[in-house]
Amino acid sequence: MIFLRRQVPLLITLITGIVFAAQYYVPHPASEQMLTSVTKWLQIIGGFALVLGVSSLFQVHAVKIRRKEAGWGYSFVLYVSMLGTIAVGFWSNGKEAVDGAMTAFGWIYNFMMVPLQGTMFAILAFFIASAAYRSFRARSREAAVLLIAAVIVMMGRVPLGEYLIPISGDLSQWILNVLNASVRRAILIGVSLGTVALSIKIIFGMERSYLGGGKE
């Protein structure tokens, strides 16, 4: 049984890992076709992963409503809005517009989801500003450098900033395209080396946490 529970999953990982790593070095139409197919397969399997996540959300809020815990009314709102959107989505065949005309699903997207999402992220502007006021004071040389770079980039991205400090536009572009790019590049190289190392560990069974705990 341990063979089925533990060894077979490791074997699947080993074989698929080696096959798809090797695929990159085989410039044959069949190899390309295999890559196209597996990309589609991963999308399909990912859809089932969503079922797992959503069912967990359903369960958490269902328990809250059933036990009438504090704030259960909000869970009810969440349930109703979710089921309502799903029902309207099915009714509109998942399309926001048909022949240029907005469907009911498109209405939910345009007049509920977009304003809610936009405003939710927009209020972060206020909190970022207040957090910046509290934490951005130039307490050290490094903090001063961070503060100056942030101010230059902010000034350089609005007409008023460029009007007040004419050089801020060019300076902002230089910071973003050269200094920022060099740091991003270094971080990307570091992260990529880590990704490759982790992938090799996974393929050869040294990293097994993705199999989860539980019985062997």
Binding site: M113, P115, T119, A129
Partner: protein, 252 residues
């Protein structure tokens, strides 16, 4: 104007104002809008995933083109759902093993090629440029990211930041200078990222305020004015209720 657009304007204005009430303090109006947002977003994602995965990737290819091989990923996906049956939960490992194996296999050569070798190639560039007729030149322009001067700055930046994150060598002596240079580069990049994020959020805020201004138009029935008044009124009533409740508790 179409009635659904007018109703939409009222709903969008109301929800926008409800979210903005959080700037005053956490309150039931915000919580209502917040949960509505989660519900609508999850519902939207479910429908979009259903349309993309079930309809476009499974149903149509199988029914219209007879691509029966697609039943294999469906079967693998179904294995994931065995998580709900405690005794059979281990079967879901096969699905995870497949996803992780394929993902790791695909990642290795592509990450090396696109993110390691390509980035190093772009970093280690010739410091001098050979211009026909002019010979070897050194370009000083800061505004041109590919100028010789910027090439040197990028090389210094990448090397020093990589060294800063290299902990196998103690950062002392010349190493300390390199690591300090890396920190300065990092701080500039964090500052730039912060400034960029703030401006992106500001842009979203301007978008929402533009909508609120547009919805003050009489053709929509001026929802921004009416609902702003109503929202403020509700906040005042709720604040009074909570203060009277608090004073009653204190009396007890």
């Amino acid at each position: 104007m179409a009635i659904e657009i007018i109703i939409g304007a009222w709903v969008a204005t109301g929800l926008t104002l409800f979210i903005f009430t959080f700037l005053y303090k956490d309150n039931p109006l915000f919580k209502l809008a917040e949960n509505l947002y989660v519900g609508v977003s999850v519902g939207y994602t479910i429908i979009k995933t259903y349309d993309t995965v079930v309809v476009q990737l499974i149903w149509r290819p199988i029914v219209e083109n007879g691509e029966w091989a697609l039943l294999v990923p469906v079967a693998i996906g179904m294995l994931m759902l065995t998580r709900y049956v405690p005794k059979a939960a281990w079967i879901s490992r096969y699905a995870f093993a497949f996803i992780v194996g394929v993902g790791s296999g695909l990642a290795i050569p592509r990450t090396i090629s696109s993110f390691i070798l390509k980035q190093i190639e772009d970093t280690v560039r010739p410091l001098l440029t050979l211009v026909p007729g002019e010979g070897v030149t050194f370009t000083w322009s800061l505004l041109n990211p590919s100028s010789s001067l910027n090439t040197i700055i990028i090389l210094i930046g990448v090397s020093s930041v990589l060294f800063y994150f290299f902990f196998s060598v103690e950062h002392t002596g010349p190493g300390k200078v390199v690591a300090r240079t890396g920190i300065i580069f990092l701080m500039i990049a964090f500052g730039a990222a912060f400034g960029y994020t703030v401006m992106a959020r500001m842009s979203l805020l301007i978008g929402r305020l533009t909508d609120l201004i547009e919805f003050t138009d009489p053709s929509y029935g001026r929802p921004s004015f009416w609902l702003a008044g109503l929202t403020i009124l509700m906040l005042v009533v709720m604040a009074r209720r909570s203060s009277s409740k608090q004073s009653k508790e204190e009396e007890k």
